[in-house]
Symmetry: C2
Subunit: 407 residues, 2 copies
């Protein structure tokens, strides 16, 4: 067992040899809109990219660059997604990597590029170039928070977590910063996650750990069921912790994987709870499904249903909508064995037993559902597989944010 | 070519030998909540039922009854869905069929049962029994409109269409009544469709015609992506038109199928346009897809996306969200050949060409998008298959209807 310690107030530049900066270059009116994350030491990287067939230009570029053995920098802009921008957009992403690499003395393929914001609009490259120049000059050991701010769009909070854990005799660190499903008017939401660690690990093992963890963290989040063209999660590991290199699935790999997954799940929850217009974080835990696939399908079906999400907004203990979502999910299940409860700090209440109605206190249900965090426990009693998904309620503000007229 | 004529103001009791009634028995506070549709002559029936694994009791009963060669009556209640009610619920559905069959001198298996409303609550059978008694006594040749009212939940309008067409030397009639995705607080929406025709057709051909048509009409409608436990469409054909029986896919079958599909598409559009909280009917037409499956997937992905739906509410010409939905739909497509336009009575405007941005008049786009009906034309330029889907915008009222506190 590892003990994972959350370091309050720490961010990505608290990982040894990582510098960062976040500046304003004019893509947004006032707020910071460009950041650079830089490892002074050589680092291996792993990444996962959107499965959307429509991939933004930086995603297409990164899919090549990530093959490189060394990756030392990430440059990110918010305010323009550089998606659906054709060959010109691809060249712009390439230029962003090139300019950043030159400023930092790196090769082009050692830089990862990310963009989020309006789509289908050419990148204003003169602003971007001067922004990258400024950001590279501003790199510092306390720029982590600025960097986290610069990637935000309609996010209401920065999403940062840093943990410390033991790996052999060494203390290791992982820090993550992310932006969630915010929408830059008039455009689509994007999930971006950037992680840094000082763990010494091979690129192959880092890739495996990230891919496995993403499946059960970010990929189990739904804000509105839409998958952006720009989604990506990337981790850089610069090895400065000096543990014996992790290059097989040994005990140290497990310790690293556990800490990495803890970080990813915490970030996933922050993204779900800060979904557009959201007032509540909804966690759905499926127990005893027929297969792991069925468990995951069920967890996501419940958290994705507009009817379920609207019911949570209204603090309505509507198990009918939950069971309906389970039914149409396509998962293999037995309706007559489904039990459903709600739980959080207020208490726990059973609201459905064996797929049917039971008496419960409406008052207690309402009190539980009025809180900012609610866990829905769904026991399918039909197997041995479990899964968890995270989402948020559907509110007037979601419609307001996404349905307002263009100005 | 047939000529299909819409008979304004006519309803299901304008089909020869069909009687109907709609009454109030106390499931709702004031409004009509129970109806019976009855063919005085023997009739063959075909039906399609929800694919949700959680099926309401009447659906389970109907899946057996529909096998019977003769079907002469449909009994429908609104206000209670008789879903997730276990063995007791199944017995209640059986009792509804039994009591109706006795009142009409039919066999139990000659009656189809439908319910819509609150789920997980036992049926108040004494109200139902006296309601069925009253409804059977009230059957008349002008009860069609009352029947259409009695199946409504949060629908704002009755959904009725009647058409006349020639079949050989005979004039034939098809009439449909339906309820859409309304929600009875605190529950799930249900799509119910009931059709009557005087066409003389075999049960096998009627079944084939209905199943084929439903695939491209009701199954291409999405209000909120949720599939109810109670959805069903049923058609009774009593043969009183006295055309030569249709028992193969001959010319008369094609004429009937064409009229049936016209009716189903019109009802599908009424359901989409009257979705909960909807202010607009959105029609998505996909052209030149790689396969029919890809065309359908694309059409439904666009109409199901919360982001696209919210953009239509805001009259926002947001092609980025449309292309994003196409991209994550899972369909096989080529982003670089996609063209998108909006069209309706105001005009037509191209908003995306070859998957990218083009200049267009924001003023004209806004005027088009402010109308109550908008068609989105998406040309994938990647094959020869087309599909159409219907949906509605996502509005404050959707959240209000589905997210309000239980009283």
């Amino acid at each position: 067992m590892s003990s994972i310690k959350v370091l309050e107030g720490k961010n990505i530049t608290d990982v040894p040899y990582f510098k960062a900066s976040g500046i304003h270059c004019g893509l947004k009116k006032v707020k910071k809109d460009l950041c650079v994350i830089y490892s002074e030491k050589k680092a291996v990287a792993a990444a996962t990219f959107t499965k959307n067939k429509v991939k933004a230009a930086p995603i297409l570029l990164n899919m090549k660059s990530i093959e490189n053995e060394n990756t030392q920098a990430i440059v990110v802009n918010s305010g323009n997604a550089n998606a659906c921008t054709g060959d010109e957009g691809y060249n712009d992403a390439l230029s962003m990597a090139k300019v950043t690499s030159e400023a930092l003395g790196l090769k082009l393929e050692e830089v990862i590029v990310a963009s989020t914001g309006v789509i289908g609009v050419p990148m204003p490259m003169s602003k971007i170039f001067s922004g990258i120049d400024m950001a590279c000059k501003s790199l510092s050991y306390d720029g982590g928070k600025d960097a986290a701010k610069a990637i935000m769009t309609t996010d209401t909070k920065e999403k940062i977590i840093t943990v410390e854990f033991n790996i052999g005799s060494k203390k290791a660190t992982i820090s993550a910063m992310a932006k969630g499903s915010g929408m830059i008017h008039p455009n689509m939401g994007t999930m971006l996650g950037f992680l840094a660690t000082d763990v010494n690990i091979s690129k192959a093992m880092l890739t495996k750990a990230l891919k496995d963890s993403v499946e059960d963290s970010y990929n189990m989040v739904s804000v509105d069921g839409d998958t952006s063209t720009n989604d990506m999660v990337v981790i850089l590991a610069n090895g400065s912790c000096e543990n014996t290199i992790i290059d097989t699935e040994d005990e140290n790999y497990k310790l690293f994987k556990e800490a990495l997954h803890f970080v990813n799940v915490e970030i996933a929850k922050m993204i779900a709870g800060d979904g557009e217009g959201a007032t509540k974080l909804i966690e759905t835990k499926i127990y005893h499904a027929h297969s792991l696939k069925d468990a995951k399908i069920c967890a996501k079906a419940v958290i994705t249903s507009s009817l379920v999400k609207a019911a949570f907004f209204g603090a309505d203990a509507n198990w009918g909508r939950i069971i309906c979502a389970l039914g149409y999910s396509g998962a293999d299940l037995n309706v007559n064995t489904i039990n459903i409860s709600f739980t959080n700090s207020i208490g726990t209440i059973d609201i459905c037993k064996n797929g049917g109605n039971i008496d419960f206190s409406e008052d207690l249900a309402k009190k539980i559902l009025e809180q900012e965090k609610i866990t829905v426990i769904i026991d399918l009693n039909d197997g041995e597989y479990n899964a968890t998904a995270w989402g948020c309620d559907l509110t007037y503000d979601y419609v307001k944010i996404n349905g307002s007229y263009r100005s």
